[in-house]
Symmetry: C2
Subunit: 291 residues, 2 copies
């Protein structure tokens, strides 16, 4: 009888989130993550040279609707450990576990859709995980209000807006990026109610209706800046949420004030966390008891 332990890669993943991360790590899963590992919290990524980490952390804390901060590298250069440490119960690696990544330099997108960050990550990089609206799509589906991009199995529509962020340090010129889901006018209040509790996943919408689109400076909802276009049918209106692609727009707006490479996920291609909605809300409720 053999007492040899199985090879690590042969051990069954502990949960669907871990399974998806391993599939992304081996470039087996390279598509958007909406609808995958239902019930698990998904996260946006931004990775900055350490010199900008404090300013970016402050930017998140001042703009929690587009940039709800979930976790930061436990130390400068760490891609496998974040604080707080309750988001993952199995191993993860920020450099490999997201299906696709973007690289920015001096405010310009210089590489896109790459499947790992192995050759870009340095000991001076600090990673930020930011809440994602995919986390509340299960609740919308459960209420009979599935987002159209989930039904169509495409990426969510995302738009740059003219709505300014509150500046923080070097990040003075950022504007909101928003995601959009079309809903019937009469369903908007229910959609607001359902997504409101998901505070650290952008929470309730920031604007809705054609007037709302105009106020955000979005001229044509059929032409998203990121992701795929979805139809807005007769009787429906566009509903807009804060979006975790905002940090990438902020980095572009900062231009050559940022020295060194900035690393990010490709919009729609998320880090999937081990933590599940129900655990997250239990913990948040406990923390908020202290304000």
């Amino acid at each position: 009888m053999s007492t040899q332990l199985p090879h690590p890669t042969l051990v069954a993943p502990a949960n669907p989130a871990h399974a998806l991360r391993l599939a992304a790590r081996t470039a087996t899963h390279t598509s958007p993550t909406a609808g995958y590992a239902p019930g698990h919290i998904q996260a946006n990524l931004l990775v900055l040279p350490s010199a900008y980490a404090n300013d970016f952390r402050l930017l998140c804390l001042r703009n929690p609707v587009p940039c709800p901060l979930l976790a930061i590298s436990a130390s400068t250069g760490s891609a496998t450990s974040v604080t707080p440490n309750h988001l993952f119960s199995t191993p993860f690696d920020i450099r490999t576990d997201i299906p696709r990544y973007n690289i920015y330099n001096a405010g310009k997108l210089v590489e896109s859709s790459i499947t790992d960050l192995k050759s870009h990550w340095t000991n001076d990089h600090v990673a930020f995980l930011i809440g994602c609206s995919f986390s509340f799509e299960g609740a919308l589906e459960a209420a009979g209000l599935p987002p159209r991009h989930v039904v169509k199995k495409c990426n969510v529509s995302m738009y740059k807006t003219t709505l300014p962020l509150c500046p923080a340090g070097v990040f003075t010129d950022g504007t909101f990026v928003v995601s959009m889901r079309p809903y019937k006018k009469e369903d908007v209040e229910r959609v607001r109610d359902i997504t409101r509790p998901f505070r650290e996943m952008h929470g309730e919408p920031i604007a809705w209706g054609w007037e709302g689109a105009k106020r955000l400076g979005i001229e044509d909802v059929s032409k998203p800046d990121f992701g795929d276009a979805v139809e807005v049918r007769d009787g429906e209106v566009p509903v807009f949420w804060g979006c975790g692609v905002t940090p990438q727009a902020v980095v572009m707006a900062a231009g050559d004030k940022i020295k060194g490479n900035v690393l990010a996920h490709e919009p729609g291609h998320m880090m999937i966390l081990d933590v599940r909605e129900e655990e997250w809300f239990g913990r948040t409720a406990k923390r908020e008891g202290r304000l």
Copy 2:
């Protein structure tokens, strides 16, 4: 030898914050509080019928720059106890300890400049204390950059803007209110640096310069919506911070969606807390270690 205890009102106040609250309670101090009890944190007030408390709490958490939430009534109807409980080390009463108050009904200012809330407070009211930029004026003075309204001993200039808040529940139509201090163009970066750490007192400015004023929808800085006008001299630019009068603008925008009286401080007339800057920052740093 008498063993009789002194009458409570004859006991010397424990600190300048407590002294100012007692002076406000007896309507001895009825003027703006900028420059008083230096080193102590000052707070804005909003008091709502309990039905709207959850939505308003969420509005603060989604808009922490104009509405940095410091504390809430420990229970519905409580005017003498808040959570968290470290803001006061001596007794306080939200109904009496602010120099002047405003009353709103159905979105309209119905009474102003009254010196207590005794006849307006009900067992159904919930109080919110919100950070105030007066708290960082000591740091500006210490750096040789005293705000002009402190030098002139008048109230700070405050303006309604067109910059929308992130909606929360019933509060869908609010916009930022900002305070303004003029500074020389070349001092703006230093002013940003000095006020940045005061995150729960509005932190660094949200806009500056004449272009910044325009972006906020402020057409004439010599005509503030609240407080007093101060001169912007040649070579100076207006610098704008989030302002804790924002909740009053939000309540006005909500109009008759809010049933019952809403109670607030009169702009510039603050609740002065026992907690001092250095204690506050020690506690915040500790809490932020946990994100």
